[in-house]
């Protein structure tokens, strides 16, 4: 397998996560401090959405990259992240076109494919630690919509914590993989 290609996926995943979480922390803290701030650093809904779009675009690019890398390595499961990206893009486009029901259908497919992508990442993980981390993240990812459907907005806080743990797991798994691929092989 093209180890070099996968290394850059994991490194990119960690970089993107780091950049977005750092922006969130810095902007939220600096915004309430009495110091002059450039507009883009303000923690406002508009900027949060913009940051979200940038991170989502980065992540979609990374997943596309992962899928292509896997397909090039003769691993057809690479199609899963590619389908996820396509479904997500279609879903967003339909949402912008205000076609809510078809958009929801496309986004549900994208979400299922995201769970699939995590499973693919488990299958190509090279260490037990990263397998376990990806697996935990996958389980949380699967549980979140079910819990939300059962509990509604009342459980939003729990879901927030679960998403946080899921993100932390995915970041650590990527870091372990990057370490393994970069240093040990």
């Amino acid at each position: 397998m093209a180890v070099r290609l996968l290394f850059w996926f994991y490194a990119g995943f960690v970089f993107a996560s780091f950049a977005s979480s750092l922006w969130l922390l810095l902007s939220s803290v600096l915004t309430v401090m009495p110091i002059p701030l450039p507009y883009w650093l303000l923690y406002t809904p508009g900027n949060i959405v913009t940051a979200g779009i940038i991170v989502a675009a980065l992540m979609l690019a990374l997943y596309t990259y992962l899928g292509v890398a896997l397909v090039l390595s003769k691993l057809l499961r690479g199609l899963v992240p590619i389908i996820m990206v396509i479904a997500f893009t279609i879903g967003l486009a339909l949402l912008l076109a205000k076609l809510a029901i078809p958009a929801l259908a496309a986004l549900i497919i994208a979400y299922l494919m995201l769970i699939g992508t995590y499973s693919v990442l488990i299958s190509i993980a090279t260490t037990r630690a990263s397998k376990a981390l990806w697996a935990t993240a996958t389980i949380i990812l699967t549980l979140i919509p079910l819990i939300l459907m059962a509990g509604g907005l009342a459980v939003m806080n729990y879901v927030k914590y679960m998403a946080l743990v899921e993100q932390a797991m995915a970041i650590m798994a990527s870091a372990v993989e990057a370490w393994r691929l970069g240093v040990e092989q």
């Binding site: 960690v14 996560s17 780091f18 979480s21 507009y39 946080l164 970041i171 870091a175 092989q185």
Partner: protein, 563 residues
């Protein structure tokens, strides 16, 4: 076997750990989290953040100013002026020239407004109040003004300052981002203001007992009606007092004491309904209602006998307590409507207005022998009004009615000049008296009281003008927003002041039991025209009418021989 440099994986691992730390910090709520946001048209945005206490960042309001020029958005220095709405007016809180201004919740002036709200005893959860922020950006001889209304809840302040139990979902920081969009906002011309060289001593009221003298920008005026062709905007230069305001009074001179000993005087009031206190501007007259409240008075009367119960010159007056009255400097703008309203600065004027009166207040009658508001009217206010308005507040021209009892060689005569005189009877001290009553007609007519109109719109009027100018008269989301918030405030005001749809007021009269030999000149003063107070006085002299008028009209059939 391929291998990248060891440094890169180490960096990736370090970033991963750092990301998780940041996620945890964020997750446990250590960093501020956005819990609400209000977009105010294209003029600004208010964001509310819940947060743990942050070192060196006190909870409160933070205003930032951004200049939108072309496609660029950058911080810019501007005048930032912050006011807090209080139940009785506007409190000036902070001002600065900067690209950002911090106003902590524990700011003294803000606390003043907060305490006023708290003293109403209405649960904080039942209403929101607001701050007013005016941003003025000046470049060359042009200026851009953006007014913003910032809703908040008094309970948040209490929680943030630890005065009540904190809650995770309570905003601790309110951040206002104001946008000066020079692409869309039309600039105003900057008019240099000529400072007045004559400065008045604001302690002028300090010599009177029982009054608190203060700079009334702390209480603030109510801007008058927008729909006049003039727009009046209060400036901070003003002075005023809290205390008793008279609604009706009778004053007797030393001559009356000496000439008319044994005379029974009965000062009666009967008033129920909405009182409007109008703002009176020098040179412009009545510029609109400054404050309204529902009041219930009487019928009540206070009686005393000259010479036995009162032996020195003085006044008897009915009053309401804890009212706020002020003399305020306003800037005057003339408005021309040529498709859009255009405001021209035409100068300044001095306005007398009531800023607050408690609804359905305790009422009472009491005497004033030189230390009360009536003395202030005569002594302090005449000087003061001469200084501020250019003419004395009480003079012959403020006398609306005259009546006289004269002892002539032909017997006792009653002269009625301008004003009805009737008679009634009363029992005082077990004695039956027949009283000649000088009735101040209907207060409604004399003062021009209108139907219920709530007077605490909390600064919405001057505000609306600015918005209209800023948006060239078009209805923008800002105006809609202001209207919504404004009506919310209106509702709160409605809680404080029971609305009334009709005014059923009625009379204020002075009764005199004349005895043979009575020499009494009664002048009825309407001080409303100058002070904006619906306050009326009867002045009793032994030798002539108040102000010694050169002419007064007594028609042929308006005198009768009595006695």
């Amino acid at each position: 076997m391929w291998s990248v440099s060891r440094a890169l994986p180490v960096v990736v691992l370090a970033l991963a750990i750092a990301s998780i730390v940041v996620l945890v910090v964020d997750g446990v709520g250590a960093s501020p989290s956005l819990i609400a946001s209000i977009h105010i048209g294209g003029f600004g945005e208010v964001d509310y953040y819940a947060s743990q206490p942050m070192p060196n960042v006190p909870p409160g309001l933070l205003v930032r100013v951004y200049l939108i020029n072309g496609s660029g958005v950058k911080p810019v220095n501007a005048f930032i002026d912050v006011y807090a709405n209080a139940p009785s007016g506007i409190v000036h809180v902070a001002m600065g020239y900067s690209s950002s201004l911090t106003v902590p919740f524990n700011n003294t002036n803000w606390q003043y407004a907060i305490n006023k709200w708290a003293s109403l005893g209405i649960p904080f959860s039942g209403y929101n109040t607001s701050m007013l922020v005016f941003i003025t950006y000046v470049k060359g001889n042009e200026s851009w003004i953006v007014p913003l209304l910032i809703p908040y809840n008094v309970g948040w302040v209490y929680r943030a300052l630890g005065k009540s139990t904190p809650s995770a979902a309570t905003p601790r920081y309110i951040v206002v981002n104001a946008y000066i969009n020079v692409n869309e906002l039309r600039p105003n011309k900057v008019v240099p203001v000529k400072l007045n060289g004559t400065v008045t001593d604001p302690q002028v009221f300090g010599t009177y007992n029982g009054y608190t003298v203060y700079n009334c920008s702390l209480s603030g005026p109510q801007p008058p009606n927008i729909y006049t062709s003039y727009v009046f905007q209060p400036t901070s230069t003003c002075l005023g007092f809290n205390g008793s305001l008279p609604i009706a009074w009778a004053t007797w001179s030393n001559g009356a004491i000496q000439s008319d000993s044994g005379l029974l005087i009965d000062l009666s009031i009967y008033f129920s309904g909405t009182i409007n206190w109008d703002a009176m501007a020098a040179g412009y007259g009545d510029i609109g209602t400054s404050y309204s409240a529902n009041e219930n008075w009487g019928p009540q009367s206070a009686e005393f006998i000259l010479g036995s119960q009162v032996t020195q010159p003085g006044s008897l007056y009915w009053y309401y307590e804890n009212a706020t009255w002020a003399i305020v400097n306003y800037e005057v703008y003339e408005v021309w409507y040529v498709d859009v309203p255009i405001m021209y600065y035409v100068g300044t004027t001095t306005v007398s207005e009531v800023l607050y009166v408690p609804p359905n207040d305790y009422y009472a009658a009491t005497f004033d022998y030189g230390n009360g508001p009536i003395s202030m009217f005569y002594n302090g206010a005449i000087t003061l009004s001469q200084q501020y308005f250019g003419y004395p507040a009480l003079n012959a021209s403020t006398v609306v009615d005259y009546a006289a009892f004269e002892y002539t060689p032909y017997g006792e005569e009653l002269w009625e000049c301008n004003g009805p005189v009737g008679n009634t009877s009363t029992v005082f001290g077990g004695v039956q008296y027949t009283l000649y009553t000088v009735t101040l007609g209907s207060v409604n007519t004399a003062y021009g009281l209108s139907s219920a109109e709530l007077g605490t719109e909390l600064g919405g009027l001057a505000f609306d003008v600015l918005v209209e100018v800023a948006t060239e008269g078009e209805a923008t989301p800002l105006i809609k927003f202001l209207n919504n918030v404004g009506s919310a405030i209106f509702d709160i005001a409605g809680l404080l002041i029971p609305p009334s749809t009709s005014t059923t007021v009625t009379e204020t009269s002075l009764g005199i039991n004349f005895t043979t030999g009575t020499n009494l000149y009664i002048s009825v003063i309407n001080a409303s025209a100058v002070y904006g107070l619906p306050t009326f006085g009867f002045i009793l002299n032994a030798t002539n009418f108040y102000g010694i008028p050169s002419s007064f009209t007594c028609k042929y059939n308006q005198w009768v021989q009595i006695g």
